[in-house]
């Protein structure tokens, strides 16, 4: 009985060490950002010491502007991502379920997908100026393909035997989607959502930097133009933290939604992923 406990103990202490090592890495990075400008290696005018940036983060967080910018960015991100996911799922399942549609649309999808969504910036500006719709066009165009492609892979991965079985048992279209296609597609969809969440954030910020829609990206461009360098870095760091939260959140969602799936269960039991 003692073997499992020591095993657990060993594993927890190993995990603590990994944590400490990671913290040391972050501390080292912060120290580097403090020393490089102080030693004059890089002019503090371009890169203020880390402590100055931290103070700037605090100062910005006290302003209402900061929270408006943050919520604007998150709003555009969330709406854009939601549209892409819903559209990707609906269109993906519709196209993926039919062999004819799949072959017919394949070349078109492969052609449209690599078109950089920033190409649409001028059009978005003309149509909507710097309103949220401009951001949404870019966000949706970029993240929709990520979801669609994964859903298409997923639907294609459905076990033909399971599908035939469902059909012979007389399951209707909805029941087939719900009980046969959906469970197989879900892991692929979650991969798509994870990729799309990151891409959507990049494009939301891009739109704010490039076409002045409200949000963190606009604050970064404005503070740079106004020479408030420390404040600019404060917003860059905040944007990075949002990025980390989005990535971690997407991974946690994936684990949560797929808790029943064999790949996750093996992982949880300590087996190799």
């Amino acid at each position: 009985m003692s073997a499992p406990t020591t095993d657990v103990q060993a594993r927890t202490s190993a995990r603590t060490i990994v944590w400490l090592q990671g913290l040391a890495g972050l501390a080292g990075f912060a120290a580097l950002l403090e020393i490089v400008p102080r030693s004059g290696l890089v002019s503090p005018l371009y890169l203020p010491p880390f402590s100055t940036i931290v103070v700037a983060v605090y100062k910005e967080m006290m302003s209402a502007e900061f929270w408006t910018a943050l919520s604007d960015t998150l709003e555009a991100w969330a709406i854009g991502l939601a549209i892409s996911v819903i559209a990707g799922v609906v269109i993906g399942i519709a196209i993926g379920s039919s062999h004819l549609l799949r072959t017919l649309t394949h070349s078109t999808i492969e052609f449209l997908r690599p078109i950089p969504s920033v190409a649409l910036i001028p059009l978005a500006v003309l149509l909507f100026g710097s309103q949220i719709q401009s951001t949404l066009i870019l966000v949706v165009y970029a993240s929709f393909w990520q979801v669609l492609i994964q859903v298409l892979y997923g639907v294609q991965d459905v076990d033909p035997v399971a599908r035939e079985t469902a059909r012979s048992y007389g399951l209707g279209t909805w029941a087939q989607i719900r009980y046969v296609i959906w469970p197989t597609t879900l892991p692929y969809l979650m991969t798509g959502v994870r990729l799309a969440a990151a891409v959507a954030l990049i494009l939301a910020i891009t739109s704010e930097v490039a076409i002045d829609t409200q949000g963190l990206g606009k604050e970064i461009a404005d503070t740079e133009a106004g020479g408030a360098v420390a404040a600019m870095y404060a917003y860059v760091i905040v944007a990075g933290i949002i990025g980390v939260v989005v990535n971690l959140g997407a991974r946690a969602l994936e684990r949560h939604v797929l808790a029943w799936h064999p790949s996750m269960r093996l992982d949880g039991a300590g087996a190799r992923a």
Binding site: G28, S117, I121, A239, G240, G243, V244
Partner: protein, 258 residues
């Protein structure tokens, strides 16, 4: 032969139908923002087959290639030692995760501070944006190398160079290519954004000029040029991947068949 002809027909059916729809639906278009496709095509051939066009397309492509290739080499060069050493990985992983999560377009204003508005800024922005997917995927690829093979390599005392060239690099290459593919679209985005933000030439610059002067057919033709560049780059990338990873896809296929 008929099978091939049918495949081509199936491939082209929808694109042709869509373009035809666009063409006919827009022939009498009075809408200022959506000019007839015929006008766009005419502008396109006038505008982008001229020496003036090369002045905008070439600088963009040079910046993109320099930045992208530098990011790829840098990402692989740093990713391999980080992936190979567990301690190094544990220390650096949170920092790398943070750096990757910073949306790369915010670097455009930051790097303007350092390098001004020149070509260095644009290439550096692309390097900074593209390096993380390559780096993190290289780390993951090296980490997931076959342990048995690693031990074989060690017990045969294979030298570091041969180990790198014949074991680590090929073993991690499928993952590395995943990173390279993600970087490709990020690099294109950054190329355009940095030129839109501040530039004297380049496709992004030209696009913004057309939009600001309400030269709508010119703007549409610029959008099409960017689209074509995106498609061509992804085709080149796919050919390159098929060439380098041919052995891997073949292996996967034979494993699946058995």
């Amino acid at each position: 032969m008929p099978a091939l002809a049918r495949r081509i027909a199936v491939m082209l059916a929808l694109p042709v139908a869509l373009i035809a729809t666009w063409w006919f639906a827009s022939t009498d278009s009075q809408n200022f923002y959506f000019p007839p496709l015929r006008t766009i095509v005419e502008t396109f051939s006038k505008l982008w087959f001229s020496p003036q066009a090369t002045q905008n397309v070439v600088p963009s492509l040079v910046r993109f290639s320099v930045g992208y290739i530098a990011a790829a080499l840098l990402g692989i060069a740093i990713g391999i030692p980080v992936g190979a050493s567990r301690n190094l990985r544990n220390v650096l992983e949170p920092v790398l995760e943070f750096l990757r999560a910073v949306p790369p377009p915010v670097l455009v204003p930051v790097l303007i501070l350092f390098t001004g508005l020149g070509n260095e800024m644009k290439a550096l922005v692309i390097v900074f944006g593209c390096v993380w997917p390559v780096l993190l995927n290289t780390v993951a690829g090296v980490r997931a190398l076959d342990e048995v093979l690693a031990e074989v390599v060690r017990s045969y005392r294979i030298g570091p160079f041969a180990r790198f060239w014949h074991f680590i690099l090929p073993g991690a290459s499928p993952q590395i290519f995943t990173g390279l593919r993600q970087s490709l679209s990020i690099g294109l985005i950054l190329m355009v954004v940095s030129e839109m933000y501040a530039a004297k030439d380049g496709i992004g610059f030209a696009l913004v000029q057309y939009q600001r002067s309400f030269a709508i057919p010119e703007m549409w033709s610029g959008i099409i040029v960017l689209g074509i560049i995106g498609i061509v780059l992804s085709l080149i990338f796919r050919a390159f991947e098929a060439w380098i990873l041919g052995w891997y896809h073949g292996l996967r296929q034979s494993q699946r068949a058995s």
